[in-house]
């Protein structure tokens, strides 16, 4: 069976940089921050263990050494405190890029993000704003147990004033992170940690193939961006539309391959603002829709997608919209693969969706 990403539509790499090295997602993220630290003196990076050590996933490795203590430093372990400080710095005119070590640990900062970062521009009628970027690894597939595996995106998509971005490959990761840092609104940037070092299609039993073998690991060394708010069709198809993001993009591609269903797979990339046109165009064509995410089902972002699809495409829909998601339980350590929505579950949903 060939790797599912052999079906990936090639990226349009319009960045005018000579060298196109291979990067895994961590390297791509690191490169984005490197580029932005060099480009804009107002960009600075902080978070727990991101300084000398370079972060528990090594995303900020070498940046303190290269740019100095002031530009990339450790913070006390208080997610609320560090977001609060970042808001103040943002209001000062800086562009803080902060890391929350795991998305599971973002809750202490929820008030600062929801009540403050998201609302500052609105409540002051544009007098103040805080252009912060909050990076955080999320999702499962690493036997992290219930506090290193959570998918929290829906808790932020409900909050007007925040943008929510989730990349699925190194090329997008770098380009989207640069866009997020340059954006004047607060951006929640969730990184599917299972994809950091290699793509993963949801089949733990198969051998890991490194990013280097994936076309989207060809990442220009210099500056480029991938715009926020634009989805990407990563597999064209006629039978059913699959909406996915993060690690689930790879699972969806694998499921399309395994099932033989002619699925069109859309990588949403940005959840808010959503690329509704890409979605409706596809569903109007296929008449069927499967939504895949790792988060708990009830009130997950899949609910919003399902609601939007039926609002926009009701008269085109030929079968119920399917949701393939994590269960409404915490992520249980011993049952990683029973919880993780792998290709088997997506295949089943694809078959149901096409009535097979």
């Amino acid at each position: 069976m060939s790797a599912p990403w052999s079906e990936v539509i090639d990226p349009d790499m319009d960045a005018d940089t000579e060298v196109i090295p291979r990067m895994n997602m961590i390297q791509a993220l690191n490169s984005a921050m490197d580029v932005m630290l060099a480009k804009d003196p107002n960009v600075l990076i902080f978070g727990e263990d991101v300084g000398y050590f370079g972060g528990v996933f090594r995303a900020t490795e070498g940046l303190q050494k290269k740019y100095g203590l002031n530009r990339c430093f450790d913070t006390p372990i208080t997610e609320s405190g560090l977001i609060g400080a970042a808001i103040g710095m943002g209001a000062y005119g800086l562009r803080p890029v902060v890391e929350i070590q795991f998305a599971d640990y973002i809750y202490p900062a929820y008030d600062q993000l929801v009540s403050e970062a998201a609302r500052l521009r609105y409540r002051s009628a544009g007098d103040f704003w805080a252009p912060l970027t909050v990076r955080s690894p999320y999702g499962g597939g690493i036997f992290g147990g219930q506090t290193h595996s959570q998918s929290v995106e829906a808790l932020f998509t409900h909050v007007a004033g925040l943008k929510v971005v989730i990349p699925s490959n190194p090329y997008d990761a770098k380009g989207l992170l640069i866009s997020a840092i340059e954006d004047d609104d607060p951006v929640m940037f969730f990184e599917p940690k299972r994809l950091y070092n290699a793509p993963f299609d949801g089949r733990p039993e198969t051998q890991v193939v490194p990013w280097a073998k994936h076309p989207l690991s060809a990442v220009p060394q210099g500056y480029y961006n991938v715009p926020l708010g634009k989805a990407k069709t990563v597999r064209a198809g006629e039978a059913v539309t699959v909406l996915a993001y993060g690690a689930m993009v790879h699972v969806a591609l694998q499921a399309a391959l395994e099932s033989g269903v002619d699925a069109e797979v859309i990588d949403l990339r940005t959840l808010v603002p959503l690329d509704i046109d890409a979605i409706t165009q596809s569903v109007e064509k296929t008449g069927r829709c499967v939504i895949v995410h790792e988060a708990t089902r009830t009130s997950g972002f899949g609910a919003e997608l399902s609601a939007l699809v039926q609002e926009h495409c009701f008269y085109h829909l030929e079968a119920p919209i399917e949701r393939v998601t994590g269960w409404d339980t915490p992520y249980p350590h011993a049952f990683e693969w029973e919880y993780f929505p792998g290709p088997a579950r997506v295949v089943a949903a694809l078959r149901r969706a096409i009535g097979a």
Partner: protein, 412 residues
């Protein structure tokens, strides 16, 4: 184990409830002038007595005494007096406007005017204050147009906040006044972040954060002190201890057994406890902290010991939970009266001048209100235009908000 006593909870209660006779004589109030004024590079530990004491300048004879006397010239004193009086007149007018149904809500700072007014006179306009809803005195002392404040309170067509915020939640970058949040405490760590921004850039601006006695219990208080200590941020962290948090007395926040200022020491930050109704003491302590911050020596925590003389807001009736006469019994008096008496004691002021000034500020406020009401009030007249309610959620309006704006427009 079995011979240990039955455990029990201690639920703190204030000394006086409605019906009780108010008697503050057991409150330990040090004499004016006795607190030493250490050099600004003092270690946090050495400020311990200041954190447990009370910095006071104005004595019983209304004279300025001791090391903390800021020795202000008469013009400055008069400016302070006038700004405090204008603040009080403004509060009175807006309170009545709410009672008349012209707006939904209002909050006074009566009795606490010295805090915001004295501090804003020390700080520069390009320093940034992160106020709570009781520091309207900052804007007033800095000459922000009263009419614009009122436009905000009325959520009218000229409201600089476009009707988005509850009354009193002002914002003015130009006047060094950060957008007020309804969420308590959150801005304390933001103030530290802003100050860190200035330090990061190698600038010379400092920040001032404000938090109420009750709100010190929020995590933000701890985060702010931790960050300020670790990164040596140029910030003044003010705790406005007005004794009450709506109906809860300061003891519910843990302020009875250890003064709020004393929290600072454990973070290696100097803590000053200051008579908040003593304009000169507030001025001097703030000046000390500001010098310290500008000299790159880091943050100072100042507890401003004052009293919330009126209800929490127009939604509150304090007589339900404290004696109606408690405010009058407050042993540290009223900041306006005290500064007035000081000027008289200096021989440069008279009761007649005070009366005339009072009339003047009342008239100034009245005129401003007339002006503001031309732009509408919450209940009548012009409003901000409805479409604007969909702006500024993001810098650029995304499609889904645009469609919602259209949906609303289609309805009418």
């Amino acid at each position: 184990m079995k011979n240990s006593p039955a455990l029990s909870l201690r639920i703190p209660e204030p000394r006086f409830r409605p019906g009780d006779t108010v008697d503050f004589s057991n409150l330990n109030i040090p004499e004016a002038g006795v607190a030493p004024r250490p050099p600004i590079d003092v270690s946090a530990k050495e400020t311990r007595d200041l954190a447990y004491g009370l910095i006071r300048v104005l004595d019983k004879e209304d004279r300025a005494v001791g090391a903390w006397d800021p020795k202000l010239d008469i013009a400055m004193l008069k400016r302070g007096l006038e700004a405090m009086m204008l603040t009080r007149a403004y509060d009175d007018r807006m309170y009545r406007a709410q009672r008349q149904g012209k707006t939904s809500f209002y909050m006074k700072c009566t009795g606490e005017e010295a805090v915001a007014v004295a501090q804003s006179m020390v700080l520069h306009r390009d320093d940034m204050c992160f106020p709570t809803y009781r520091q309207q005195g900052i804007l007033i002392a800095r000459g922000y147009p009263l009419v614009d404040m009122m436009n905000q309170v009325y959520s009218n067509a000229a409201d600089p906040m476009k009707g988005r915020q509850l009354p009193v939640m002002y914002s003015s970058k130009d006047y060094g006044f950060f957008s007020i949040s309804g969420n308590l405490g959150t801005q304390f760590s933001q103030a530290v972040g802003w100050a860190m921004g200035s330090a990061y850039k190698g600038d010379d601006k400092i920040a001032a954060g404000y938090i109420g006695d009750g709100s010190t219990a929020e995590g933000d208080f701890h985060h702010a002190l931790t960050f300020a200590s670790v990164y040596r941020a140029p910030v003044i962290l003010n705790i406005v201890n007005n004794q009450w948090a709506i109906s809860s007395f300061h003891g519910i926040a843990g302020g009875e057994d250890a003064p709020f200022a004393s929290r600072a020491i454990g973070y290696n930050l100097p803590g000053l406890r200051v008579d908040g109704n003593d304009f000169l003491a507030v001025y001097a302590a703030t000046q000390w902290a500001a010098e310290r911050a500008r000299a790159n020596l880091g943050a100072t925590v100042i507890e401003l010991f004052t009293y919330r003389a009126e209800g929490h807001s127009t939604s509150d009736d304090p007589a339900r939970y404290r004696p109606a006469e408690e405010a009058k019994g407050w042993p540290l008096g009223d900041p306006i009266e005290r500064l007035n008496r000081h000027l008289i004691a200096l021989g440069v002021w008279s009761d007649a001048e005070q009366d005339a000034l009072h009339k003047e500020v009342v008239e100034e406020v009245r005129a401003a209100a007339k002006e503001a009401e031309k732009n509408g009030t919450l209940s009548e007249g012009k409003r901000p235009s409805v479409e604007t309610m969909f702006d500024d959620v993001y810098k650029e309006q995304p499609w889904h908000i645009r469609r919602q704006a259209e949906e609303l427009a289609a309805l009418s």
